[in-house]
């Protein structure tokens, strides 16, 4: 197996293009574990660790915050520019696995891996994040809601790489909350709720909800958000929204809980997330 350490995105893309069996190595938290288990056998590893621009955080004039793909979960969890509604991403990052894994794993790695049970995808979908990708033929950006397609499957094409994640501006008064239910601290979620909420005069003036571990990709339902929007988040509205989310969910039975159990958790976790967000909302 070859090992390359390019210093620019262009060099990395050229290496990827030259060898279809090569794999880009971000932090390694998942890829090295897969190598150890002999689940993957790339012909070469292309380390992205030496590409400085992949670690940048950039706030644009239009309010969009761009996060480089190689930012670690630990750095995301303490990134102060992830404020207001964007704090949902900070909270999700802070609950990924354990400190020693958060020091290794990266935003771009988690995005490219596309595991619907991991914490960042749901938070990114809730935040209307944009995934920026590069390939030898050019760059493109796509909404997180369309980027994740299925279990461990994304729109990333062969030879294409995630380079950054963009978070568009949210309402000034929005708050974010990531509610994760896991069997033990640091485990994958049995179910998680990524929520961004704003209140005005006792009514919900902005809301975005995405579920993790609820199906093959993060689950987001416009009708459920429409039911909450403009309401006082009364019991009936929350119940209806949870029902709509539940109908769109298709969780698996596994060691972290049965599909039935996950769906029973859903309305309770949504209510819990709303309670916290309302209490934090200005």
């Amino acid at each position: 197996m070859e090992f390359y350490q390019p210093e620019t995105i262009e060099q990395a893309l050229a290496l990827l293009a030259a060898d279809p069996a090569a794999m880009p190595l971000a932090g390694g938290a998942t890829l090295v574990a897969m190598l150890n288990a002999e689940l993957v056998e790339p012909s070469a590893l292309i380390s992205l660790a030496g590409i400085e621009e992949l670690s940048a955080v950039e706030a644009m004039a239009d309010g969009t915050l761009w996060l480089g793909a190689m930012i670690s979960h630990a750095d995301l969890a303490t990134e102060e520019r992830l404020s207001g509604g964007h704090s949902v991403l900070r909270q999700a990052a802070a609950q990924i696995a354990h400190p020693s894994v958060r020091n290794i794993g990266t935003l771009g790695g988690a995005v490219a891996h596309g595991d619907p049970s991991s914490d960042l995808p749901a938070a990114l979908v809730a935040a209307d994040a944009v995934i920026k990708m590069a390939s030898p033929t050019g760059k493109r950006s796509i909404a997180a809601g369309e980027f994740f397609e299925d279990y461990l499957t994304t729109v990333l094409a062969e030879g294409e790489m995630v380079t950054a994640v963009g978070l568009p501006r949210l309402p000034e008064n929005a708050v974010g909350h990531y509610e994760k239910f896991a069997r033990v601290h640091g485990d994958y979620a049995t179910l998680s709720v990524a929520l961004i909420l704003a209140m005005k005069g006792g009514e919900c003036s902005y809301v975005s909800v995405a579920l993790g571990s609820a199906g093959a990709k993060p689950v987001r339902v416009p009708e459920a958000e429409a039911r909450l929007l403009g309401s006082a988040l009364d019991g009936a509205a929350v119940q209806d929204a949870a029902q709509l989310l539940s109908e769109a969910s298709d969780p698996v039975d596994d060691v972290r809980g049965s599909a039935e159990y996950r769906l029973m958790l859903l309305p309770r976790l949504l209510q819990r997330a709303l309670n916290v967000a309302v209490a934090c909302a200005p």
């Binding site: 197996m1 288990a37 660790a49 354990h98 640091g186």
Partner: protein
């Protein structure tokens, strides 16, 4: 094979490793530093925790070829001049050890944790060390040890 130089426990070391060689394998098999333990090889159990430029990482998830020029501290490098580090001493004094297999990782994790949070609550210690599994289930005295180290180091 890839030639790298890195600093291990304060000493510059040269290694010639295959691309997929983890830091864990390099430490144990190439450098004979067997204090760092190999259990799950999946980043789940924490037995292989080492300090990479001062932060705790699972050595089984880090490729040696990817950390040329960086600084690693293992359990063997925590003490100074033949004396145990305050965290090691606190683990000994509280009798936090049962079979001992998880202890290298526990102590290294606890060392990094206390640097970030010098006066932690018991709850914070539980969260901070949640990535270190003890299959003897001897967690209570581990928490006692971290509290003791925190008190001694703050004194």
């Amino acid at each position: 094979m890839i030639n790298i130089t890195l600093e291990i426990n304060g000493e510059e070391r040269e290694l010639c490793v295959p691309a997929a060689r983890t830091m864990l394998d390099a430490l144990r098999n190439d450098l004979n530093l067997t204090g760092t333990k190999n259990a799950c090889n999946q980043g789940v159990c924490g037995a292989c925790t080492v300090l990479l430029d001062g932060t705790a990482v699972n050595a089984c998830l880090v490729l040696a070829a990817n950390i040329a020029g960086r600084k690693i501290v293992t359990i063997e490098g925590l003490g100074e001049g033949g004396r145990l580090s305050p965290m090691q001493q606190a683990f000994v004094d509280t009798g936090a050890i049962q079979c001992g297999f998880c202890m290298s990782g526990m102590i290294v994790s606890a060392t990094a944790f206390l640097t970030e949070n010098p006066k932690p609550s018991r709850h914070e210690i539980r969260a901070g060390l949640s990535g270190n599994l003890c299959r003897c289930s001897g967690y209570v005295r581990v928490i006692d040890a971290v509290i003791l180290a925190s008190e001694r180091m703050g004194a």
